[in-house]
């Protein structure tokens, strides 16, 4: 019989640390990208940290996740190490994928992170397959599939969700509804407000939580994951959130698609600020302890960036390797 994670002070502190790790990683990565040190495009998770930390608090290495193009936070929360992540973003041989994945395709099988995915809606069928394998092997492992409101309009999600409910597979569909599919607002890409409404059509529970509140996410995920582990099938867990940065990078393409007022409104609901206020209020962490977390994380980031910068590029002669197994 599996054990459910309870919301102890230690768990709260871990979730806080996880959110700070993601925030600082993303801020640093964004700067490095805009300075031209990291090639390609980065889709940053700033503003959405409560979701990864709240869900992953329930998962072990054996549980699988599928991620999205906005995947750094998921990997960090799943136990990803800064040094190997930065190295991958830099395209270095020491990265998680030895420089052949990059930001949008980063993965680590040992941590059960089956991959970020450059295709919106690419992950749900894969997570469903991982859940199939969990059922086939009679483990109580769970696959969590992260996707956004944009991906909720992709057919692949519909197919995967229908099958997962039909076969009662141990999978949780975690919708990170940040209100935008790339630059198109939710109001302009679907006629519904709550993606969770669609769960009923698949024959699974649809649960809505405040995605800016890590405790709310934790509680919602606890029930959904317990249900999956118990063999009672999938849940669609919708987390209402917001991306503080642009779709890509920090300032992005400079497109006008949302108002400053809207951004400010959501920033006032910053998941880390809110969480820290509660920690202080409830005397779970004192200010000094909170600051110590930031200092530790800053030191870890600095060391990791140095590691990545000093790491060798992949040997060009190996570039054609691994096309086939």
């Amino acid at each position: 019989m599996f054990v459910t994670v309870e919301l102890t002070n230690d768990v709260l502190k871990d979730m806080h640390r996880c959110m700070v790790q993601i925030r600082r990683f993303e801020e640093t990565a964004g700067k490095l990208m805009e300075d031209g040190k990291i090639p390609g495009a980065l889709h940053l998770y700033v503003g959405e940290e409560a979701i990864a930390s709240g869900v992953m608090a329930h998962l072990s290495k054996e549980d699988q996740i599928t991620s999205t193009h906005r995947g750094h936070g998921h990997l960090i929360a799943k136990g990803g190490e800064f040094d190997r992540m930065f190295a991958e973003l830099f395209g270095k041989a020491t990265g998680y994928c030895k420089g052949k994945g990059g930001s949008m395709h980063i993965s680590n099988m040992d941590l059960g992170m089956l991959g970020a995915n450059g295709i919106v809606g690419g992950g749900p069928p894969i997570a469903t397959g991982a859940a199939f394998s969990n059922k086939f092997r009679k483990t109580d492992n769970v696959a969590c599939c992260f996707f956004g409101d944009g991906a909720s309009n992709e057919g692949s999600l519909h197919e995967a969700a229908n099958m997962a409910a039909l076969f009662k597979l141990p999978v949780v569909f975690v919708c990170e509804n940040n209100g935008f599919g790339e630059y198109t607002s939710q109001a302009n890409h679907q006629a519904i407000v709550d993606v969770a409404d669609r769960a009923q059509g698949y024959g699974m529970p649809g649960v809505i939580v405040d995605g800016m509140d890590a405790v709310a996410v934790f509680e919602g995920a606890r029930e959904a994951i317990a249900r999956a582990r118990a063999g009672d099938g999938p849940t669609l867990l919708e987390c209402k959130t917001y991306r503080f940065y642009d779709h890509v990078g920090v300032r992005g393409m400079g497109l006008s698609y949302r108002s400053d007022e809207e951004v400010e409104f959501w920033k006032k609901r910053d998941p880390i600020d809110q969480f820290e206020a509660k920690l202080r209020e409830q005397n779970i962490m004192a200010e000094a302890e909170i600051q110590a977390v930031y200092e530790q994380v800053a030191a870890e980031i600095e060391a990791a960036v140095q590691f990545a910068e000093e790491s060798p590029m992949p040997d060009p002669s190996t570039i054609t390797e691994d096309v086939y197994a």
């Binding site: 052949k100 469903t128 199939f132 969990n134 995967a160 099958m163 086939y324």
Partner: protein
């Protein structure tokens, strides 16, 4: 040696591999209780049960993608796409995920997956789906040949169907396995007794000859052999080469044959433009140009959708068109 139908050979390969390896599972629409629309998965459900023979909704992207997830977790799924035409819905999962996963993870994971696809026109009139038209008759093998990371296999006989499918299931890569559905109930031939494996990436000279090499895939192999038998009477000797695996391609066998005959006709059921014949033609032109005594000729379907009913015959590469191309080169 046992005389076996092409469809029975497929079924036998699945039985043998599922018996051998408990990680091999079969998934697709109506593959379990119905034994597959064409009957390729008959009796698997009775033998191996619902955990290993899985009926799915009509959700090609969903179950193909799920099979990829299973394969990443160490299982060895065999997907049946009921008609090859339907694979378009799952193309993203195959080209984006399955084909690139081993490369993107630098080998940390891989996708040992087989996707079985009944393809082509059933002009035989025997079995199911004769002249089913534009959405149930295509030969889409070349779409996949262009995606590095995928292997592409096309057996033309019961023995090859058996031996290649067994090898495909044991392969560590995603293998697109094209079964010519017109052959299912018309191609009957002997298969070797005991374990029969045909390695991927090895062509076969189906018939030796000296005047013209005909490189043929799938159902066109039997058509080419029929032409060769007819032309024997006129003293024209054809050598028939079946690549059997398009990716990886056994260039050596093709080039060796063309070096001997100096003439090449390529025939396949897919349309000519950017079809696999163009690739074979390029290989011969690049590496065997000095051996050629005449231009290369392609005999393929017309560049158009596959029409329904008996009209299809006017668009297909026929024995008459192969013969005409051969005579043109001599």
């Amino acid at each position: 040696m046992t005389e076996t139908l092409y469809i029975q050979a497929i079924n036998q390969a699945l039985h043998e591999e599922m018996e051998r390896d408990a990680e091999v599972i079969v998934i697709g629409l109506d593959v379990a209780r119905q034994g597959g629309l064409f009957g390729a998965t008959r009796k698997l459900y009775d033998r191996f049960g619902a955990d290993r023979v899985i009926d799915t909704p009509i959700s090609e992207a969903g179950f193909t993608g799920a099979a990829i997830g299973m394969a990443m977790e160490g299982m060895r799924p065999v997907v049946e796409i009921q008609f090859a035409d339907f694979v378009t819905v799952a193309f993203d999962q195959l080209s984006t995920v399955a084909a690139k996963m081993h490369f993107m993870t630098r080998g940390a994971t891989h996708v040992p997956l087989v996707v079985r696809m009944p393809y082509g026109v059933n002009v035989s009139g025997e079995g199911y789906m004769t002249g089913a038209g534009p959405h149930h008759s295509q030969s889409p093998e070349n779409w996949f040949c262009h995606v590095a990371g995928l292997k592409v296999v096309m057996p033309s006989s019961p023995a090859d169907a058996l031996g290649l499918l067994k090898s495909a299931i044991r392969d560590e890569n995603p293998v697109m396995f094209f079964e010519q559905k017109g052959l299912y109930y018309t191609s009957r031939a002997e298969i070797p007794d005991g374990e029969h494996l045909v390695p991927l990436g090895r062509a076969q000279v189906k018939r030796t000859g000296s005047d013209v090499t005909v490189i043929a895939t799938g159902a066109m192999v039997m058509q080419a052999i029929a032409v060769a038998e007819k032309l024997d009477a006129d003293g024209i000797s054809l050598e028939i080469v079946d690549p059997r695996t398009l990716v990886p391609l056994d260039r050596e066998t093709i080039l060796t044959s063309v070096a001997k005959t100096g003439r090449a006709v390529i025939t396949h059921e897919a349309p000519a433009t950017a079809g696999f014949g163009a690739e074979i033609s390029a290989v011969i032109a690049e590496h065997g140009f000095a051996d050629l005594k005449a231009p290369i000729r392609r005999v393929c379907a017309l560049d158009m959708p596959v029409p329904p009913g008996s009209m299809v015959r006017a668009t297909m590469p026929t024995q008459g068109r192969i013969e005409a191309a051969v005579r043109e080169l001599l």
